[in-house]
């Protein structure tokens, strides 16, 4: 590791996640009915969504940057960030379904939070369909950047706002904002916050690999 100065955040990601895997299983958690030990999913399922929202925000920022500066590199970052964000979202919805099956009794319930999350993933899926359907590079970058801004607004509406306006099975919704019930437990905080940072950094690492790969591909095409 000669590039220690450049790569320190990757080491932080690995150490944090390793800590989360060990402490997440072995640290005491609040004893709550129905949830039982599955409350530990907070460190894994919930952090997938936090990671997704943060990485998609990176995508949004680079889309805006592209629209103002028209640099090709920004378009690459925006699309690869959206890709990793969507991947995290798919992991989040799959783990959520498993969790739901053993606590709510069904793989899917007609709940505003769940449906909102599904719609959001479809919106981001459409982002890639849109990109794939335009051959002209500049046009593709511009149109998808505009669409990406729309997509992030929809994400906030469907995941952050609408579920909070109605009742929801999902914690943190329906007049019960935030994670109050679990987050009050300081033991869980000790694992939860590093988990968010660790998983997000891991996503950023995968994103950076994808960006470098894409750049190499483009370079190969140009030569």
């Amino acid at each position: 590791m000669r590039n220690m100065k450049k790569n320190w955040w990757k080491i932080v990601a690995v150490i944090f996640i390793l800590y989360v895997i060990i402490a997440g299983f072995l640290m005491p958690v609040p004893t709550l009915p129905i949830l039982h030990e599955t409350i530990r999913n907070l460190y894994f399922h919930v952090t997938m969504w936090f990671g997704m929202i943060i990485i998609l925000m990176v995508s949004l920022i680079y889309s805006i940057k592209y629209l103002s500066k028209q640099k090709n590199e920004y378009d690459i970052v925006a699309s690869e960030a959206a890709n990793v964000g969507l991947f995290f979202g798919v992991l989040g919805i799959t783990t959520g379904m498993l969790w739901a099956n053993f606590t709510w009794g069904s793989w899917w319930v007609n709940d505003p939070k769940l449906n909102g999350a599904a719609i959001t993933l479809l919106i981001y899926l459409a982002y890639f369909v849109l990109r794939g359907s335009i051959d002209d590079e500049e046009k593709r970058a511009k149109v998808s950047a505009v669409y990406n801004i729309f997509a992030y607004v929809m994400l906030i509406v469907f995941v952050g706002i609408l579920p909070r306006l109605t009742d929801s099975l999902h914690p943190g919704n329906g007049g019960n904002p935030g994670f109050g019930k679990y987050d009050l437990d300081n033991n869980m905080r000790l694992v939860f916050y590093p988990a968010i940072i660790g998983w997000t950094l891991l996503g950023v690492w995968i994103m950076s690999l994808r960006i470098r790969m894409k750049k190499l591909q483009i370079e190969k095409l140009e030569n």
Binding site: K10, V14, I17, L18, I21, I22, F25, L26, V29, T31, L32, P33, H36, E37, W205, I206, L209, R212, M213, L216, E219
Partner: protein, 76 residues
């Protein structure tokens, strides 16, 4: 005769355990005992190994990309 006695004792104990369990508010069941005797550490270890494996994999991809980038830079 000895084994017969054993079974009776076990049966009585099980019966007592059941009646005790039926009384009062049900305690929330956690895996406390499981962690002591249920080999949960094994699962933690497996997860840690899988994650470290993924990390090694990511590092190798990272290095390969770095090599390719260097080669392309030198070509120019």
């Amino acid at each position: 005769m000895k084994t017969f006695k054993k079974y009776i004792i076990i049966g009585v104990l099980l019966f007592i355990a059941q009646t005790i369990f039926a009384q009062g508010p049900e305690p929330v069941e956690m895996a406390d005992a499981l962690r002591q005797s249920g080999k949960i550490y094994v699962v933690v270890g497996v997860l840690a190994i899988i994650f470290l494996g993924i990390v090694v994999y990511l590092v190798s991809i990272d290095r390969k990309l770095g090599k390719l980038e260097k080669e392309i830079k030198e070509k120019r």
